[in-house]
Symmetry: C2
Subunit: 132 residues, 2 copies
Amino acid sequence: MAQQLTRNQSLVLDVLTHAEGPLSAYTILDKLRDHGFRAPLQVYRALDKLLEFGMIHRLESMNSFVACSHPDHHHHDHGVTAFAICEDCGQVTEMHDAGIEERLSVLAGREHFKTEKTTIEIRGHCQNCTSG
Amino acid sequence: MAQQLTRNQSLVLDVLTHAEGPLSAYTILDKLRDHGFRAPLQVYRALDKLLEFGMIHRLESMNSFVACSHPDHHHHDHGVTAFAICEDCGQVTEMHDAGIEERLSVLAGREHFKTEKTTIEIRGHCQNCTSG
DNA sequence: ATGCCACACGTTATAGCATAACGCAATTGA
DNA sequence: TCAATTGCGTTATGCTATAACGTGTGGCAT
């Protein structure tokens, strides 16, 4: 069941997995120069696949990427994800909630809108950075 | 109460108001060349102000901007907005729902996260483009 | 009036994000 | 074997956004 990754895909996933927070494609590129990466496309192609496999997420509001925090069950099997993004430390928390999905589904249905992909991103300050 | 706009701000808002769907900053720039616009910053500065005034919205998932569909009450007085974006025709529907706000508030609270700004964008297909 | 300040503006340059288009190599499967 | 698919590498290009500088104007306290 576990997706067999190519070398490039593994390298990119590895960088994201070990990162503190979200990374831009170009930051990933820089981190992989020693491994032979030379061009943005090498990163973007790997990112596209990893997104497709559900192993990483794209944060639209900051043009960057994070490893999925639920590495166990891939392949889209978790529904809508909401991200809490701390603007101070950059940390990202992944959240799931059936109530939200339900509510969004109702909203979309009311407009006869067929949902393909839902993005929920909350910018703000995490507990650590608030208390400090 | 109505915000007094500068010439540039008015021009940009006007373009967005009369547009079919969301526009990128550079598309706006092109549409305003005849009015003396020559550089991206002229557009971005106006956009920043209009966002601040709550007169337009930024769609993070497509790096573009739309006029707010509730021109009456500006100044942030409407809460979280969810956008339904049709990938076929580009049309954007603005939706508000107290239930969603409530649910997101609970989620954030659970993580002791202080929310500053919330982005909800649903990509998919609108009624027209689905039926056809 | 003078001087100061805040703000919008215009311009040039640059930084950051993403994809088009080409060709090559390896794999798969009819 | 041959064609189709997929990943890869490279070059070039396009799109999105901001930095940094200077100008002009209007308000306003002195």
